[in-house]
């Protein structure tokens, strides 16, 4: 909708009789090129984002009367809704556990699957596999594995651990969600890091070796700085997606036991599509967006300190 007005403005602004200048003609072509994706972008991406924030200021049931309530939805979730803070805490706990472990696993395996490994393409593909198989199917298999008489319980009993039931305890359920998410998600970062590692020129390592740098020092002073753009990209993307965690707890634990693994997105889903209260659900979404935007902004501001672009 808005894009059509900008496109219209460019044609009406060429009012003078003279033939439009080259610059203006180029701009007009550019707007025409942008229009197909631009219209869709405004209607289906930017529009809903703005709408989400607007809805947060309304009492908006799925069926029935909508009324403007100002900040009431935010006041409700911040003050009189213990579940909201619980889910914020759960989400933060998940992010704090998931992101560092994901990085360690992804970088570790990216380094391990070095050029010395035969068939490294196949290894990469197979470690990446869970990232492209449907997350719901993955979570269902994991539920089968971690149930009280499942494979993990069987393995635990070999080591004398009886009554192995991680989903029955709060800490265990969160651990199960984190482990399943790691299994599902680290392959993606591993590919990112692998591509980054492969593009580091050999002569840097040769030079460092000739200067007598040991393997750990080469890793610290060559690999990490050269990999920093990949690390930055992965950090931004992983943080964004881990704050949005939904399917894993939804399928694996149902948010339980109690509310131990109910995440912010699960909570906004419950409020919106089970309690049919779109207003407070959008308020939760807006808060989540604010958190993610803030963290991403901090990362972008901080990148000057540690990210090296050639």
């Amino acid at each position: 909708m808005t894009s059509s007005t900008t496109a219209g403005a460019s044609t009406t602004s060429s009012a003078p009789r003279r033939a439009p200048s080259l610059k203006r003609r180029e701009a007009r072509t550019a707007y025409a090129f942008l229009a197909p994706s631009g219209i869709g972008f405004f209607a289906f991406t930017l529009g809903p984002i703005v709408a989400s924030v607007v809805i947060a200021f309304f009492a908006w049931p799925v069926f029935g009367e909508r009324t403007f309530v100002g900040f009431q939805n935010f006041v409700t979730i911040f003050t009189s809704d213990p579940m909201f803070w619980r889910t914020v805490g759960n989400t933060l706990l998940f992010v704090l556990l998931y992101v560092p472990l994901n990085f360690v696993l992804a970088l570790g395996l990216a380094l391990w699957i070095s050029p010395r490994i035969r068939g490294r393409g196949l290894y990469r593909l197979l470690f990446f596999l869970p990232a492209v198989t449907p997350i719901v199917a993955n979570a269902l298999v994991w539920r089968l594995l971690v149930q009280p008489n499942g494979v993990f319980a069987d393995i635990a009993s070999w080591f004398g651990v009886e009554q192995f039931n991680p989903l029955g305890t709060e800490a265990g359920a969160m651990a199960a969600v984190v482990v399943m998410s790691l299994w599902q998600g680290f392959g993606y970062n591993m590919l990112v890091f692998s591509a980054g590692l492969d593009s580091i020129p050999d002569h840097l390592y040769e030079a460092a070796s000739l200067d007598g740098a040991s393997a750990p020092r080469r890793f610290w002073h060559v690999t990490l700085p050269m990999l920093s753009p990949s690390l930055f990209f992965a950090a931004v993307m992983t943080l964004i997606t881990s704050f949005q965690v939904f399917a894993q707890p939804y399928v694996l634990t149902g948010g339980g036991p109690g509310a131990a693994t109910t995440t912010m997105v699960m909570y906004l889903y419950q409020r919106g599509f089970q309690l049919f209260d779109l207003g407070t659900a959008s308020a939760v979404a807006t808060v989540l967006f604010a958190i993610i935007a803030l963290i991403t902004a901090v990362q972008f501001l901080g990148q000057r300190k540690w990210v090296h672009y050639e």
């Binding site: 701009a27 709408a51 990469r124 199917a137 008489n149 990209f233 949005q244 979404a285 967006f289």
Partner: protein
Amino acid sequence: MSSATAQRPDTTRAIVQPRDLHDEYVPRPASARRRARLAREITSQVLLTLVLLLFLMPFIWMLATALKPGNEVFASPPSLFGSEIRWSNFVEAWTFVPFGRFMWNGLVVSVLGTLLVCITSVFAAYAFARMRFRGRSGLFALYLVTLLVPQEVVVIPMFIFMQELGWQNSYQALILPWAFTAFGRLVSIVADRGNTAFNWISIAIEALLAAAPLAYALGWVA
């Protein structure tokens, strides 16, 4: 495909050269050094394969479960193989739900979505990368910022929007919104500038394009 990638170790072998150079300074017979390195490489390969098998266990279990008789899925103690290998499970699943229809839905959504995003992205990317116009950098920044917005934020207004359009349970509701996310454009822009360091982003697109419609086709989001 895997055989082609398997060739790569020899061409990129130079990456491991530095360590060899470093080892040069250690006074040891060359043959012993080579043997020690070979042993290290074999150990590494075997260990990695073990880790991989462990990692793939959920998939192996998924396949094994698919071939068990239904009443043995929750058997205790669990075993990889049931009393029989039941291939008929697949036939039953196929006929129990309209699976062919599900796959067709997934195919329509992903193919049309991909075509749409490719076509519109090529034009937009060319405009951003090669042309000068007012609001170029501002518009580009706007595109990028939307990448940071979680999809769940968009789901509720999108639901209302689709309700208003009367598009519930339609292909266009699954295709159109996701075909216009900024991702495709970002990639083609980057590719147009020939920045190969960003090649890995294309992996993200493929994964997203493959996974998102599937998630919807499988009913992840109501």
